[in-house]
Subunit: 406 residues, 2 copies
């Protein structure tokens, strides 16, 4: 492999880095490499028959004209209603005008960066955090400061002063409370409440990414940040939490469909932004997604959970067997990722180069997910695409590569 | 109707105005109103059977997994190839890396505003121009200056000095050379060459919107700005013209699918922007659109041309019969719109209010399309959705309403 590892991993987190990671993932798609790098759902689990029925139904004579025509920027009303009912079931009383359909949650993050950030403003994120969020926000030239919701954040004054010194204001906190990409970790209710306190003190928005929320394999669900915020304020229209959801991890990512649930005055601003940026998400996909959601969501979530739960368990067991002393990892209650921490003196990027050359296995080095370029001794393993055999063999080889590097 | 006309039309062109026009169009969707307001294609002409076959084929066992999965930001390679061949046939030698798939040409305009404009920079547009372009660009806070390509533009120095005085630089010229929305007018080759000269002198980009290019009903095609630019420079990668295309007016708008064709170094920047803003356009739609384009594009364009040609002719004949002295209008060689100029003292917005109240007919007042709020005595008529009977009766009523106002 003629990859320039230094060029790929030495830059500051940003536009180029995220795109380079994606380039890297493409390069790693070689048949003889066992890859735990890609963070994508298993296409074998997609509800293909339900989508076939949905598109056929949507393109039947009565509705084909509407499916192929322009539609409103807010989104297809029955789909907004379906999402509204889902949100209600998750403890968020809301109305259709609290919901905007977006082209994946990536578009939601882009819009929120555009809405909230001026150059030099501060966005609070965890170290590590979702790479696509950094990529979306970077277009609006923020500074990042660090949230540490588990161990206790800094004081509001400390965040405020650091932001002012950098010439801007703290504008929002972004986080994935459930089974985060890349760590797999879930915030407990107390940490969520403390984060709402901090956001209240700073008077900033909270952007909650719920992409993996439905993929819980065990343990008890924790109320979402938005549910907790509504419980405090009594009314979604009085909340500061903006919740970004997605069908990508439950039904399918190829339709690029997600949503934002938030106070209606926020949604109204985002609708104008949507109209200016792409008019609306594709009508036909919204109608088809509504059909599949109505007919197959619950079974599909059960199917996906069961498959990924098995893979997570299998990978955790393999790690237990094969990792040398001094290596630790997360035990996620859901999602797609396990986060591995190596002894301090090891570097994930160097390890990857060696792992590909000598063992034909791949993962994503953890530094990429850190806004400040730290995290060199970490790496992300995805179990969503791996067979039992690939996990057994791949984790065995990973253990060997790490042992040799120690 | 309890519409606040002053509020709707008195504001400066911008975000709110465009969205208000769209609100207005929704309000006008009443069964007893004959509307020439909406600028949308006729759903009766959509190639429904071809789309049915396309989605069934794409969701067949061999390809369903790929159709529902994530894909690359550049776009589905066979669709990029198809567009490349179309561009080549239109006199633009190019390669796949000169093509980016976008979510409609609206997204292309948004990206180009984001790529090229800083607040206070100048965008050159015609008065009137496409409302959606103003809406997309406004997010990046430009100043507008006026192109007059038919009668001769101002000098490069004049544009440059005005831009500097406003605290920015001229960044691009935007125009729809063929059958423009809203005027229906087409620029001759000489005007296109002059505009390329001006862009060269100013060293700015030219954004060419080709949304209606395939909808020519008579007269001889004029080479696109990009084709002329390539002819001058010898290589697309040396050109300054960025061409935005769309399937919305030929195949269907509900899939939100368009493209940008430009120098590969421009496309590379836009691919990173696409990745950060929504990862990629929906995989399934790109595959389905490719299928329909391969199997039905030529016949479909013929069918649409024939239907709209008839409606244009019918509306021009009705205008000839019913318009009072002092009213003039364009005779478009293609597209969907006829542009009517009233005597100076009449106001299109006032006339619309009266037309709805007393005659139950609707159109879009022309001031909305002018970046400076002029054009009060103009209006846009769309013939794309109207039956012969609606045209006969509606234009007769319009003539009466104008006569009464004179």
């Amino acid at each position: 492999m003629a990859l320039d590892w230094e060029a790929i991993f030495a830059t500051r987190a940003g536009r180029m880095r995220a795109s380079e990671i994606r380039e890297l993932l493409k390069l790693l798609e070689q048949p003889d490499i066992i890859s735990f790098a890609g963070g994508i759902p298993d296409p074998a689990l997609f509800p293909k028959e339900a989508f076939r029925e949905a598109y056929a139904s949507v393109l039947a004579n009565g509705s084909a004209g509407a499916a192929l025509q322009y539609s409103t920027s807010e989104g297809f009303p029955p789909l907004r209603d379906w999402i509204m009912r889902q949100m209600q079931a998750l403890g968020v009383p809301c109305k259709p005008d609290n919901i905007l359909i977006t082209s994946g949650s990536q578009q939601a993050l882009d819009y929120l960066g555009k809405l909230l950030l001026s150059p030099g403003d501060t966005a609070l994120v965890t170290w590590p955090t979702y790479l696509g969020a950094l990529q979306a926000f970077n277009a609006y030239e923020p500074r990042y400061d660090r949230l540490t919701p588990v161990h206790g954040n800094r004081t509001p004054a400390a965040y405020r002063e650091a932001a002012a010194k950098a010439g801007g204001r703290v504008k929002f906190a972004y986080l994935t409370p459930d089974f985060a990409n890349p760590t797999g970790e879930t915030l407990d209710q107390e940490a969520r409440e403390r984060l709402l306190d901090l956001a209240g003190d700073l008077d900033i928005a909270v952007i909650e990414d719920t992409a993996y929320q439905s993929l819980r394999y065990d343990g008890k669900g924790v109320p979402s940040m938005l549910a907790l915020d509504v419980a405090r304020r009594g009314d979604i229209d009085a909340t500061r939490t903006i919740s970004c959801g997605s069908f990508s991890k439950t039904l399918a990512p190829g339709l690029r469909m997600g949503w934002i649930c938030a106070a209606s005055h926020v949604i109204r601003k985002l609708v104008l932004m949507k109209q200016a940026s792409d008019l609306h998400s594709p009508t036909i996909n919204q109608m088809a997604m509504h059909h599949v959601a109505e007919h197959a969501f619950a079974q599909q979530v059960e199917k996906v959970r069961s498959a990924y739960r098995h893979r997570r368990d299998h990978m955790l067991a393999a790690l237990q067997r094969h990792m040398p002393e001094g290596v630790s990892w997360t035990r996620p209650e859901g999602g797609m990722f396990i986060w591995v921490t190596l002894p301090d003196h090891l570097d994930g990027a160097e390890l990857l180069a060696r792992a590909i050359e000598t063992a034909r296995i791949a993962f994503v080095p953890g530094r990429a997910f850190h806004a400040d370029g730290t995290g060199g001794n970490t790496l992300r393993l995805s179990f969503s695409l791996a067979s039992d055999e690939a996990i057994d063999e791949g984790i065995k080889r990973l253990g060997r590569v790490i042992s040799e590097a120690l």
